[in-house]
């Protein structure tokens, strides 16, 4: 474990921002490790979730916002459900991911690309268009072959719509995104 110089690296504003956005009190964590014990993603994480909580108490903004774990958390709610201090840990993970995004960090680019392609699809059609989503994802990542075996299974089942299900009110979805972008741009 790296040695942290707390005097130099404690970012008080960062801790306050996480607490404000998540509505949680991070000092309640007493490092029992329950969240990590139940987290099915620990084997894929670079920082286990209880270490993220500890790093948060220590105001370690840069180390946390650049970790991969944030992008691999599936929001399975195991940590939140089992924390003896009722800390909503999964929401904290969400808030840290929002911040990492804003800071332009995405150490798991494929995960980010998938999210972005998904939200684009909703913005354009009002509903997710699975076929279009996959096409855009593959075009952006250059990963064409990974799921070809699945396409061969799904296509004969006629489960994937070949054309988007545009909804009547798709303009109202576009307006939600536009208002959101405008607000974000102003901040």
């Amino acid at each position: 474990m790296n040695v942290i110089n707390m005097k130099e690296s404690y970012d008080a504003e960062f801790v306050r921002a996480v607490e404000r956005e998540s509505g949680q009190n991070v000092s309640l964590c007493y490092q029992c490790g329950n969240c990590t014990a139940g987290c099915p993603y620990t084997e894929f994480y670079d920082l286990p979730v209880s270490r993220i909580m500890r790093g948060l108490q220590a105001g370690q903004r840069d180390a946390l916002l650049s970790c991969r774990s944030l992008w691999l958390c599936a929001t399975c709610e195991s940590c939140t459900t089992r924390c003896p201090n009722n800390i909503d840990v999964a929401t904290i993970m969400d808030v840290l991911r929002h911040m990492a995004r804003k800071a332009g960090k995405a150490p798991e680019p494929a995960v980010k690309t998938f999210c972005d392609a998904f939200l684009d699809s909703v913005r354009r059609h009002g509903r997710v268009f699975e076929m279009g989503l996959m096409t855009r994802y593959m075009a952006r990542t250059g990963r064409f072959l990974s799921d070809v075996d699945l396409s061969l299974k799904v296509l004969p089942k006629r489960k994937l719509a070949m054309r988007p299900h545009d909804i009547v009110g798709k303009e109202s979805i576009a307006r939600i995104y536009e208002r959101y972008d405008r607000k974000e741009g102003k901040q």
């Binding site: 993603y41 494929a110 208002r179 959101y180």
Partner: protein, 300 residues
């Protein structure tokens, strides 16, 4: 039934594509059980997981637009959806909007503010709580005797308990009891609420082959000959990706992965277009043929 069972129905995007058999069988059993589903007019995507990982207000607004659309319907008891992911988003949005500041931020993204007073439930919760296993059992015409199932709830149907407010968050039993009512044998499956790998099948495939692989191993170890799910994503990971999982882990699973609505539908005597069993990737025909053969052998 004194209180009418009329609900605003939120099908969710996957119900029109990769989980069309879940949507159809849900509609089929609701009709058979006297639950009236009124589709939310012009419903839109709730944003699923990607939206809340980007921003909570945007995510809540995508759900709230659907709540708003549901509020235009007359005489509905609440909003119901088969999909746990949609359910979580709708319930979390409704809960966060109890905070006036948060609600104001959400409303400012919408065309009109929503009232936010309709309860949100899963179809499973309505069948389990409003009808109950006994009422379902009373309508069973073709029991699933001899079918050994492992009920798998997925991670978010019941968690966190403060928001989902249904069944037990560590050991849920609603599907177990409905399966028993349908005549199936329920195996003791310890990984009921473990994560299947969620939507990482595309971006980080090994996460799904590892986590869903554990689920299949455990179900097989418990003696189950099929798994029962209530979640389109869990079903897809376990069924569509079962070949990938076998290749990655050197396993040879051949476990059909049903939606609980398909199995209840079968017990209620529905078939064909209501159940869409032909949409499942791991073909359940042999298993079901054996079940029926054993039943008629026992009867004669």
């Amino acid at each position: 039934m004194s209180r009418s069972l009329r609900f605003a129905y939120y099908p969710g995007c996957s119900g029109q594509g990769t989980s069309i058999e879940y949507d159809r069988s849900t509609r089929g059993i609701c009709r058979a059980l006297g639950i009236e589903l009124v589709d939310i007019p012009d419903w839109s995507c709730c944003g699923s997981t990607p939206a809340h990982t980007v921003d909570h207000v945007l995510s809540a607004a995508l759900s709230a637009r659907n709540i708003l659309q549901a509020e235009s319907l007359k005489d509905v008891r609440g909003i119901i959806t088969p999909c746990p992911s949609c359910l979580t988003n709708l319930k979390t949005a409704a809960r966060r909007m109890r905070d006036a500041d948060f609600k104001a931020r959400v409303d400012s993204l919408l065309d009109a503010p929503c009232r936010n007073d309709l309860p949100v439930m899963s179809v499973l919760q309505v069948i389990y709580q409003e009808l109950g296993p006994e009422a379902v059992k009373a309508r069973v015409t073709s029991p699933l005797t001899g079918l050994k199932v492992a009920p798998y709830y997925g991670c978010i149907m019941n968690r966190p308990p403060e928001i989902m407010d249904f069944d037990d968050c560590e050991n849920p039993i609603a599907m177990d009891r409905l399966m028993l009512a349908a005549g199936a044998e329920v195996m003791p499956f310890p990984l009921k609420v473990e994560c299947c790998g969620a939507s990482f099948g595309v971006a980080r495939n090994e996460v799904v082959t590892r986590l869903s692989g554990k689920l299949l191993d455990a179900a097989a170890c418990c003696g189950a000959s099929a798994m029962v799910t209530a979640c389109p994503l869990c079903q897809m990971n376990l069924d569509l990706r079962q070949g990938q999982i076998n290749r990655a882990n050197g396993s040879r699973h051949d476990l059909p992965i049903f939606y609980y609505t398909q199995l209840i539908g079968m017990a209620l005597g529905l078939n064909g277009s209501d159940l869409m069993l032909d949409k499942l990737c791991v073909d359940p025909k042999t298993l079901l043929r054996h079940m029926r053969a054993a039943q008629s052998a026992a009867a004669s």
